[in-house]
């Protein structure tokens, strides 16, 4: 059955070529990729989809520089001042690049500890917050007791942040490790840092974690987690039915929901243009310092 359309003059003038093919494809749901590619080449040979500013890649390494997307909590002056303060702090101490799933060791100054410092090693299960309030949570199992510590990235009492193993995981948040078998969260406190050769991309650890039997802290089966292997074993029929009922497949097409959660590319470019120069300089100077050979005076032994 042909579909009657009210055609405007622009359509008739511009679309002569694809009108001929329209009738055979009017009933298909999604046009085939191959045909569209051919048409694009015929019509506009030089047309490419817009290329974005390459500085936008910085959003993965320094996500806390982007402000909170909620417009009720935005203040451009405060954000500028925060960014300046963040750069000042970064010039004092090296806050390395790490992601959720990397193993990090943090040394903080503690007035009540022996030696006045306190060191904790753990896997980063979450990074949240923006600006100077950016936080990350480290999890480890010590003496069969799971321990989580939440640190602020820009806390002045932090003396050293050392990345022992730099890697990414299949999920953005690893809260399911709380319900996983303890072997997936135990890391020795005297672990040595694993150094990656320069220029390698951040490795993705495709490990799929096994969960302990129910009860769990959250309904992991409803959360589309890619890093968990054995959820289905622990589910009853009732859980499967309720999961189907609670699914919201239309949410991934909700364009305005995505928009309200992100900072648009133009605003991001402004921020990175402000900040990338100093960050780049700091990176380069730190690399130079690490490669420099320090001269240590030999200790003379008294005869």
């Amino acid at each position: 059955m042909s579909i009657v359309i009210r055609k405007s003059t622009i359509d008739i003038l511009c679309a002569a070529k694809w009108i001929a093919r329209r009738d055979c494809r009017a009933l298909s749901s999604v046009p085939e990729k191959v045909d569209i590619g051919e048409e694009v080449k015929e019509k506009v040979p030089g047309h490419k989809p817009r290329a974005h500013n390459p500085l936008l890649e910085y959003r993965h390494v320094y996500p806390e520089f982007l402000p909170d997307p909620n417009p009720k909590w935005r203040n451009s002056l405060r954000e500028k001042m925060e960014r300046a303060d963040m750069l000042k702090r970064r010039s004092q101490i090296d806050i390395p690049e790490f992601y959720v799933g990397s193993i990090v060791a943090v040394t903080i100054s503690d007035p009540h500890a022996q030696g006045k410092t306190n060191r904790f090693v753990g896997i980063c299960i979450d990074r949240k917050g923006s600006g100077l309030r950016a936080e990350f949570i480290l999890r480890n199992v010590i003496d069969h007791q799971g321990v989580e510590v939440r640190y602020e990235l820009y806390d002045p009492t932090i003396q050293l942040i050392q990345v022992l193993r730099l890697e990414k995981r299949l999920d953005d948040k690893l809260y399911y490790l709380r319900d996983a078998l303890p072997e997936y969260c135990t890391f020795p406190l005297d672990m040595d840092p694993e150094i990656l050769p320069e220029g390698t991309p951040v490795p993705l650890n495709p490990v799929q974690v096994k969960l302990k039997p129910r009860p769990w802290l959250e309904r992991w089966e409803r959360q589309e987690l890619k890093g968990v292997s054995n959820i289905e074993e622990h589910l009853k029929e009732k859980d499967r039915v309720r999961r189907e009922l609670r699914k919201t497949p239309w949410e991934k097409y909700d364009l305005m929901k995505q928009y309200r959660k992100t900072i648009p590319a133009e605003d991001q470019s402004e921020i990175w243009n402000e900040v990338y120069n100093q960050l780049q300089q700091m990176r380069v100077s730190r690399k130079k310092m690490s490669r420099k050979r320090t001269f240590a005076t030999p200790k003379t032994q008294l005869a």
Binding site: A15, E64, P67, R133
Partner: protein, 200 residues
């Protein structure tokens, strides 16, 4: 405190976006809200000018702008964009119209792609705001009748005549000034010539 989502890059919309979405209440809930907006966006792309309630029009405007900006930034061959266009446009030839007609039209725009006007309320006593939502560059005659630059209207005729007279008066003044200064110049030239002749 939330961290901005970094998995996707979106282009900035050139319309005012309120901080929260309107719920558009109905028996089907959030899914029904998106279904209603789908129909509205399909109608907008199909007819290029539609008349509807203000609340639904404002929401649909945001989604239409997002759809067009995604189509412009990613283009034809990007699978996720095609799936989004397939979901939002219920008539599949409009997917072609979006990528072949609207994208080239709006590629180089610096303004928003849609325009919304407030329309008169149809029912007396029921406060339902109406609006007209249209795509810019549509082939219909414009809804506003902006005649302020029409040279044939009486006020512009009178103003042009007044400006012309003023300018003429100014030219006459300048001409007088110039002629006076010329006379003075010639007198000064003549006088020193006559003086030495007298003295000698």
């Amino acid at each position: 405190m939330n961290q901005a989502d970094i998995s996707k890059i979106v282009s900035k919309l050139r319309i005012k976006v309120p901080p929260e979405h309107r719920r558009l209440r109905g028996p089907q809930g959030p899914e029904g809200r998106l279904n209603k907006l789908r129909k509205t966006v399909t109608g907008l792309i199909k007819y290029e000018r539609i008349e509807l309630n203000y609340r639904r029009g404002d929401e649909a405007r945001q989604y239409a702008e997002r759809l067009i900006s995604e189509a412009i930034s990613h283009g034809d061959c990007h699978k996720p964009t095609m799936e989004i266009a397939d979901y939002w446009l219920l008539e599949k030839q409009l997917v072609h119209k979006l990528f072949k007609v609207l994208v080239p039209r709006y590629e180089n725009y610096n303004t928003a792609f849609t325009k919304m006007y407030k329309a008169p309320q149809t029912y007396y006593g029921r406060n339902i705001d109406k609006a007209v939502l249209e795509l810019r560059g549509n082939p219909y005659p414009s809804l506003t009748n902006k005649q302020s630059n029409n040279r044939l209207l009486l006020q512009n005729v009178l103003l042009d005549a007044a400006k012309y007279d003023y300018r003429q008066a100014k030219y006459a003044e300048m001409a007088d000034k110039m002629s006076k200064t010329e006379e003075l110049q010639t007198k000064l030239d003549n006088n020193p010539e006559s003086k030495p002749s007298e003295s000698s």
